[in-house]
Each structure stands twice: as C-alpha cells, then as structure tokens.
C-alpha cells in the first residue's frame, strides 16, 4: 500500500497485511485511516501470548493488562491469567474503565490479583458528554472491587476545562467514604498520541495538579499522588 512510507503494508483480497520486520512504528497508517484503526493488530491465543511474554518474565514481578479495554476480553483474560498463575509466580492486574458487569469481574477473581479503575470524571453530565455514558456503573464497579479486596486504586486523567475543584472533591469524598486508604492517582492529560477533539486540549498546569492533590487529601484520602 503506497500510504506506508516503508512499504510495510500490503493488501490482498480485502485483507491488509503488516510486515513487522520493516515497520518503523511511524504510525502513518493509523493517522491515514479515517477511523484511526490500526493494521498492526495481531491475534493471539492465550497460550500464544504467554509463549511470547514468558521469556521476559524474569525481569518483572507481574503482568498488567490495559486497553483498549480488558473488560471486553474477559473470556480470553480468564484463560490467559489462568495460564500465568499456573506457570509462574507473577501477579496479575487489569486497568479497566469499570463498565463490565460485576459477575464478569468475579469470573476473573480466581486468577486476578488486583484491578485499577479509570474514573473519567465525577460530574454525571460531564461524564456523559465525554464518554456518552453514565458513570454510575463505574462507581458501582469501584465499590464492588473494593468490597472483594481487588481494588488496587483509582486513576483520574485531569483535563483543563473539564475537571474542576468540585469534581476532584466529590471523587475523593466518594473514595474516602469507602476507604481512606484507597490510592487515588491524578494523571496529567498529555496530548501526545491522541487524535480528534483531544488534540486540541491542553495539559493541566503544575499548580492546578498540586491543588487537586491537596483537595483530594482534604477529603481524608491518605494516598493521593500525581503524575509528572
């Protein structure tokens, strides 16, 4: 396909083939696609993925699965984590948006050590505006995972213009009422690698990040941190 500067993509009978060996990872393909889809998607079986990761497991103490959204791959993950747990001493963790049903999370519990939940924003209407969805499900998931001893912490990406003092205070209060020890991490939005509307958003200022951390601590949370 001529769009690829390295000639790493070919097109046969309606299928795009990607040559990993000559790809330089410039992502021109993704930027060229009108729906930002990637031709570099690889399919693995749970066993195949473990075979690929296993040689590197001497250098880590656990495996975390993020997104996309691991909640959409529960069947795969159950089998994959089952293999991880039977073949190693590694810990397992997912980073989820919290939209999966509690009984689905429960199926993972025998092989899952912990889950990190991304909370987009506490204000219900802004949440709907940002994601098209209500956030009550996310809050329910946080409660459910915590109740089962599986909540590693909650992450919230801070976007200027969306996140206000009120949002952070409410989120922190919600978590503190559950358990003041829940780790709450505020992540600074970065436009790198984003597309569409988010490209126009700015990174929050240093002092705003620091103020949010203090506000969250004021609600009684003992373990609040922020990214650089």
């Amino acid at each position: 396909m001529p769009q690829c500067p390295r000639g790493a993509l070919s097109y046969q009978e309606g299928i795009v083939y990607w040559n990993e060996d000559i790809c330089t990872g410039c992502d021109t393909c993704i930027k060229t696609c009108p729906t930002f889809s990637s031709p570099k998607v690889q399919q693995y079986t749970p066993e195949g993925l473990w075979r690929k990761l296993q040689p590197n497991t001497t250098f880590v103490s656990g495996i975390s699965v993020s997104g996309g959204e691991p909640g959409l791959q529960m069947g795969f993950l159950m089998e994959f984590f089952r293999i991880v747990k039977s073949a190693s001493n590694l810990t397992t963790l997912i980073e989820t948006n919290g939209y999966t049903e509690p009984e689905e999370y429960r199926k993972l519990f025998p092989f899952l050590d912990m889950a990190l939940v991304d909370l987009k924003i506490m204000d219900a209407s802004k949440h709907k505006q940002l994601t098209g969805q209500d956030n009550s499900k996310v809050l329910e998931t946080i409660r459910y995972l915590h109740g089962n001893g599986k909540l590693q912490g909650v992450n919230e990406v801070i976007i200027p213009g969306y996140h206000t003092d009120e949002d952070i205070t409410c989120a922190a209060r919600f978590l503190a009422e559950l358990d003041p020890a829940i780790p709450f991490r505020l992540l600074r939005f970065r436009p790198h690698g984003t597309t569409g509307e988010a490209l126009g958003w700015e990174s929050p200022a240093e002092n705003a990040m620091d103020r949010f951390v203090k506000l969250a601590q004021l609600q009684g949370l003992k373990n609040v941190s922020r990214s650089l």
């Binding site: 040689p55 001497t58 250098f59 880590v60 103490s61």
Partner: protein, 528 residues
C-alpha cells in the same frame, strides 16, 4: 605546545621504543614531553607530578618478550594500557584494612582503632599511602566502620562519616577510587548512601547485592541514589561468591580481586584487531587465532609480573606485606579483552552477513558468547608465575581508553545501538558468564524510573538471573555520566573542552574519552 595533555594514556609516546627504551636520537622529544608537562596550564600540581613519574617509566626498555608478542603489540592487537614500559608496582592493590583497624600499623605509627574517629583517621592515612597509583580500593566500608558506630552518638557518627567521605574525594581526587557496601544493610551503609547523595562526590561505589540477603528497602534506597548519581553499581554478589568466595574486593572501575591481594598488570586484546588475523571462518578464529593471541598475551603478562616481583622485589621490605595487609599469594593478573562488538560485527560481515550485528542477531550473539568463552579458556591454559590468587590469568572486560577510536568498551553493545532492554541484558549477560575479573552493563533510565524504583529492582534481579554480573544504573538527567567504568560530571566535560584544569585526574581521561565517543552521551533510554 603548552596545552598538550601529556598524562593521557596513549599507548605509545613518540619517544617510546619497545626493545631499546629511550635512544639518544629521541632525547629531544623526551625533553620536550617533560617540558610540556611542566608548562601545562591544564594540569594541576599533583597531576604534573604523576605525569612526570609516568614519563620516566616510559623511557625504559620493555621487559624482554618474543618477536611474535612484540609484533602483536605493534599491530595494536595487544595493548599494554599505559602502565609504562616497566612497571614498579602492581596495577591494583586491595589491602585488608580491617587488619589495620584491629592491629594498627607500626610503620604508619597508628594504634588499633578504638572509636569512629580513630577508624576513619587510620583509613584516611592508609589511602594516602596505598602502594599503587591511587587507592583504587578503599574497603568494604560498612563492614569496616559498623563495629565503631556505637562508639559515638548518632549525630557524631553522621558528622564523622560525612567529613570522612569528603576527605576521601578531596585527598584522592580520582573516580577510580572505589568503595564497596552490602550485601547486608547496616547503619553505616545507609548513612553512606545518604551522605553520598548529599556530597555528590565522584568516588566510585558498589553495592554487593543479593536478593536473598539485601533487604528490599536498602536496595530501593540504593536505586534512588543510582537514578540521581549513577552510583552505586549493583553487583551480583552470589555470582561473585561462587567464583571468589566471600573475600573479594571491587576496585577501580568494576574490577574483581581477592581481598588482601591485587592485580599485577592488565594486558588487553583488541578483539576488533584480533579478528583481522583470522580467515573468514568462526572455526579459524576460535581454534587457531584465539589460542595463539592468548598465548602471547600471557607471555607479555608474565614478563611484567616477573619485573614487579623479581626485578623490583615489590614484596620485599614492603610494610604492607610485613604487617599482613597484603599477601603475595592473593595476587594475580588480568588478561583482558575489549571491542567485542566490532570483532563480532566484522567477522559476521566477512561471513556474508553484514546486517547481523551483536545485540540484534541470534548468530552474532552466539558468536559474541563463543569468542568470550574461547578467550576465557585460552588465557587460563597457560600457567602464570606468582599468580596464586587465581587459577591462571583472570579474565577481564576492559573498558577502553581515549585512543580506542571506533572500538566499544569490553563486551558491551555500542552506545546508541542497544536493542530493547531485555534483549540487551540477555545478550550481554551471556558474555558476562565468562568474565570473573570484572565486567558491567550500563543502563540509563528516563524519568519514569524515579517514580517506580521497584520496577528497576525487578529488572536488576532479572538481569542477574540472565547471567549479568554487574549493572550501572543511571538516569539520562543525572549530572554524572558513567564514562566506561567510572564517573565524570557533565560540567567537567564542558570545562575540559574549554581547556580548564580539572581537580579529578580521571575527569581528564574521561573527557578525552567522551570526545572520541559522542554516542556515549546518547545512550538508549529505558522506560519502566
């Protein structure tokens, strides 16, 4: 020319002559070299004095060696590493300072140490008198001083250690001066990490790390230091104990030796040049060239060892020996290599696979490991006199000097060309296996590591499982750069470019090295 840095370790000065020493026709050049040193504005007094003493040695005849061995030196296959024509002392010495503290020293007129003040004063005195070029090993500091910790109040202990650590650097301004701590956590060890972070001296430091012995919090503290200061090194202690037993020392860059012993000489083979002697055949290299070169390397080592022991009589009337701080039977010598990457890549190219590079290709990595193993076996085969501290010559990965243009230190993958982290550690780890005399891999992390020292610790543990013996951990934002095995400040590099005098003699060497290897400042940075 007044700005000529005559104490740089060039393998040969213009007046040097392997067979005859300084000949009358070269006398004017010899005098000029002396004058250049005396009139240099870039050397401070002590550095001039050292350079003058080196140049005197270089005027002598080299110890007698065969014509074949001499030819290998002249072709640049074997290099003597600026020890001077005729050595008059061992290259590295690792005294048993614990005996000095326990018994005192008649010659130095020191009594047994009774408190932390005595102990640090005795050590400081000893360092100034170590019978080699610099106190390249200043002891397993935590073991030495922990017994004296309770002789003063905790506040005093901190003050005494702080001034001790300051004096180590100010009186011995060289980044080859090396202290060891660990594997246990001690109060002195913890304090020293704190003080080192505060004083930011260039003194080299190694943490002897063993996941079974070293407490987690102590290891993390050391990692935090390393991400800021590019030290301490993380040394695979259990691997060291397998090879050396408990009584070993790490000196200079990362050099292993017996405690109470030392290393007579370091003679190194340039693998890039050695490969040129082989047919385009792995078999020819491993079975013909390597044994031939190793035999000559050992011959040269022998001649130098004999000079120190027999001609100089270094062990006779030497108070370090008489007072039991150094033992003749614990000495050995290094047979070293460098330029593995270029050697491998060159042979792969001659075998018709120029794309197959060390670090990136399975066959090249295998060849790297095979060359290292073959050199290891070959240097051990030939017996060495007076080297009872090791079974034959001890194999070492030498890091290189300024004049090595286009040659990568030791068995490293060239800076800027490293593969992804795990592949990097595996490839170099397989060569570390053979190098008991000292070797290290450098890792530089980006700022994500500061927030996650636990992940760095996981990587260190994994690396040790893959055979890595020693890791230099640092961050790209640190004001220190690990040149090859020692540290230099980025600001000293700038000062050297502006022809200013530098306090640390090692920084003069290091700035020269970095100017010939700009990639060294642009290593691949790792996220965790």
């Amino acid at each position: 020319m007044k700005t000529n840095r005559k104490n740089l370790p060039n393998p040969f000065l213009s007046f040097e002559n392997l067979t005859e020493g300084l000949i009358p026709e070269k006398l004017p050049e010899f005098k000029k070299s002396i004058r250049d040193i005396m009139q240099s504005h870039e050397l401070i007094h002590e550095q001039k004095r050292d350079a003058l003493s080196n140049i005197a040695k270089d005027a002598l005849t080299y110890p007698s060696i065969s014509a074949e061995a001499r030819a290998l030196i002249e072709e640049g296959v074997i290099c003597l590493l600026n020890e001077g024509a005729a050595p008059y002392h061992p290259r590295y010495v690792a005294p048993m300072y614990e005996r000095l503290l326990a018994n005192g020293s008649d010659f130095l007129e020191l009594g047994p140490a009774v408190d932390l003040y005595d102990a640090t004063a005795s050590l400081t005195t000893a360092y100034k008198n170590v019978p080699c070029e610099a106190p390249v090993f200043i002891g397993r500091i935590d073991e030495l001083l922990e017994p004296y910790y309770d002789t003063v109040s905790p506040e005093e202990a901190r003050k005494v250690l702080r001034s001790f650590w300051l004096l180590v650097d100010r009186l011995n301004p060289s980044a080859f001066v090396h202290a060891n701590i660990g594997p246990q956590k001690t109060r002195v060890g913890e304090l020293l990490l704190d003080i080192d972070r505060e004083l930011k001296t260039l003194t080299n430091l190694t943490l002897r790390f063993d996941a079974q012995i070293t407490p987690h919090d102590f290891a993390l503290r050391a990692i935090r230091n390393a991400l800021e200061l590019t030290k301490p090194y993380f040394l695979n202690h259990s691997r060291m104990v397998q090879d050396w037993g408990e009584d070993y020392a790490i000196a200079s860059c990362y050099n292993s030796m017996r405690l109470g012993g030392g290393i007579f000489t370091l003679v190194r083979v340039n693998l890039k040049e050695m490969v040129k002697l082989a047919e385009p055949s792995i078999d020819d290299l491993l079975k013909r060239v390597i044994p031939m070169v190793a035999e000559k390397q050992i011959e040269i080592i022998q001649s130098r060892v004999r000079t120190i022991v027999e001609d100089v009589g270094w062990f006779e009337q030497n108070y370090w020996v008489d007072e039991g701080l150094i033992m003749k039977e614990k000495f050995t010598a290094y047979a070293a290599v460098f330029g593995l990457a270029e050697g491998v890549n060159e042979l792969m190219a001659r075998l018709g696979r120029p794309q197959a590079r060390y670090g990136h290709d399975a066959q090249a990595n295998q060849l790297a490991s095979d060359i290292t193993a073959a050199m290891h076996h070959a240097v051990k085969k030939v017996a060495l006199p007076y080297c009872k501290g090791w079974d034959g010559a001890c194999f070492h990965a030498q890091v290189g000097i300024n004049s090595d243009v286009g040659v990568t230190p030791g068995v490293r993958i060239p800076s800027g060309e490293e593969p992804e982290l795990y592949a990097h550690l595996r490839a170099e780890g397989h060569t570390h296996e053979w190098i008991e005399g000292g070797v290290s891999t450098i890792l530089e992390f980006d700022q994500t590591a500061t927030g996650n020292p636990e992940a760095v610790l996981d990587i260190i543990k994994g690396a040790f499982k893959e055979g890595v013996r020693n890791l230099s951990i640092g961050s790209a934002s640190s004001e220190f750069v690990r040149v090859t095995g020692y540290l230099i400040r980025r600001s000293d590099l700038e000062a050297a470019k502006a022809h200013k005098a530098l306090r640390h003699s090692s920084s003069i060497v290091g700035s020269g090295f970095l100017q010939t290897k700009p990639n060294h400042l642009h290593r691949v940075r790792r996220k965790v």
